[in-house]
Symmetry: C3
């Protein structure tokens, strides 16, 4: 803040009200599929104000050496960014009966959050509560996820809403709505990646605060639609590393797709 952004005092953001870090609303979660250390440093140096979480996608955390993973996690947290392994990795730990050991190792390595999901395996309500409890007890913040990765199993908004409320009651700080890396044929998106608005509204309609949800939204059209619906401070996840600056531009109305929106706001005044 001692030295401002490059166009401070010249251009103001067309969409106003963007939240600053640390924040609960308007969070951006990046999906990392295996960025190298210098690429990660490059990304954080430029984009750390626009990244709230870095998720090591699915079980990729297992492919690092212990030293390399520790170094990368330390680099990420040194920029004030939270970091956690993908939900699928916890599902594997649960399926292998190694939840306690998994949480302990995650602590040693420096992860700040744990994601609890059932995107691939089946998880009884009891075991889901147990996983959340144990992660909280081990000192992590917990994010949960609703939705199945298998495109043949459609999201039932009523059941998903019940799960969201149960998870939040258990102590989860936020619930992710599954969108995968692709954003197609999963959760609130149809095969072409188009937002299924009825499902989305049914889900959000039952909540006091829509910012308790984070929407996985890897495609630009999805990011635009959700910013149109919820404003610049919607929580968005599974953002590709190369799209993080572009997403912030969308949030601020600094790109055609959302600049138009800001001009409509202007005219409605």
């Amino acid at each position: 803040l001692t030295e401002g952004r490059a166009f401070d005092g010249v251009i103001s953001s067309p969409l106003a009200g963007r939240s600053a870090k640390p924040r609960n609303r308007g969070e951006t979660m990046l999906i990392d599929k295996g960025l190298g250390l210098s690429q990660t440093g490059d990304l954080l140096e430029l984009g750390c104000d626009f990244i709230d979480y870095i998720k090591f996608g699915f079980g990729t955390a297992a492919l690092y050496s212990r030293a390399a993973l520790r170094a990368k996690i330390a680099l990420i947290t040194s920029y004030g960014v939270s970091v956690y392994p993908g939900g699928t990795f916890l599902e594997i730990a649960v399926a292998q009966g190694r939840l306690d050991e998994y949480l302990e190792r995650c602590r040693e390595l420096g992860f700040t959050h744990i994601e609890v999901s059932d995107g691939t395996i089946d998880l009884s309500a009891d075991r889901r509560v147990e996983a959340i409890d144990k992660a909280l007890a081990a000192g992590f913040s917990v994010i949960t996820e609703v939705g199945k990765k298998d495109g043949a199993i459609e999201l039932d908004p009523t059941l998903a809403l019940e799960q969201v409320i149960a998870d939040l009651t258990c102590g989860a700080t936020k619930v992710i709505v599954e969108g995968r890396e692709s954003g197609s044929g999963v959760g609130i998106y149809d095969q072409t990646g188009t937002l299924k608005r009825d499902e989305m509204e049914a889900l959000v309609g039952g909540l006091s605060d829509p910012s308790l949800l984070m929407w996985e939204a890897p495609q630009k059209s999805q990011q635009v639609d959700l910013i149109h619906r919820f404003g610049p401070n919607v929580n968005l996840g599974n953002i590709a590393p190369g799209d993080v600056i572009a997403l912030e531009a969308l949030r601020l109305g600094l790109r055609g797709d959302t600049l138009l929106l800001s001009m409509q706001h202007e005219m409605e005044k």
Copy 2:
């Protein structure tokens, strides 16, 4: 030139006549959505002979600190590459009545070119001329753009041609034909990204020199079609950073898609 390319004296380029920098024909414009500093250095070290312009896409320039943006621009120009902020950013400056301040800040930061467009906002003919004039007066080279980002507004080749000629008359060095980052459902491309040849020919048919235009062509098939039509020295823009070497290979006939073309040329002799 003191030390040649790796296969000099062994393999000659299947498509002959590729221009060298600095050039007016055969320019490549890269779209940068937020490359970090070391990634930018990496890209320039290998590819600076094949990059004529780096465009900071839409309003992403606003998201850098002043020091970081200055450093990145200085790095780019040190490799003999021109650099400018996206047209959308100028549109915002005009809409906010801050054109003079915008141009002054761009100068301080080290940008070499200004893009004047009306992809999102409406810009009267008078204000467009004023923007070009002021940018020229401030010492920039000016590139303009024709075409709307909104896919529902189809490109009218007759009107676009009039605009191209007016802009060049005002002192623009080149006119970009809008293709967005996606290359789908915009300008001379249909929803699948296929070239609309009639519109393209109508636009180019009214010009003495097709190289007064630069085609935004983010998709490989579009780059191939335009090289087939105009040869290796067609001006192409909105090239993704990771595609810049691959595009140069296409221009030289060093990839299957254009190697075939060079063999057809051979047979016609």
Copy 3:
């Protein structure tokens, strides 16, 4: 091996039996379209255990300075990764009558393998044998490729199988099945990138060992389908640099798509 992977002793790989380098089965070939030197180092530092070959796509090797190409090749081989120029580049050398000079230059530069293909040009059986012989005589390992880049020429499994056997008899260590960078409308993939199972089975059915083939499989769904069919140690090529860690996660069952497969295996026991 002195220091293990980050979750050793905690989580075991859901899909068992993954081979370690150096290996003949389960190889991963990466397609490089022009990575800079520091990006290449970053990639190898994290992923060298999961990369068997780096291919300089098509004729991109021609675009480096001699010093830059030598340095990049030396970096790659220092990590125990094999490296070769794309098949198209050899096709150009053959078409220009410069095969001997091409092989000599490749040796000087440090390439370890040569790919012999006829994806774009026509190559008589005699000249194909000659190219393999000369590359072997010059001290390279040879990989050949079957399939045409032109989507209008469908893969004939019977003819392709004959070619595979002829190439292996000549001394090729492996034969690649063409899939291009896109994986659409080419080889064993239809326009949407879906695997054409009958063609694939016809090809593989005539071989004693399916691991004599390497499938170009740039799309995730293709990687998943081939792992389902052949197991974690199928040879896969044209993997994008950013997907190399994600592919290894697929091979090990550390991602939803193949984790399910491992659970089916479990149930069948």
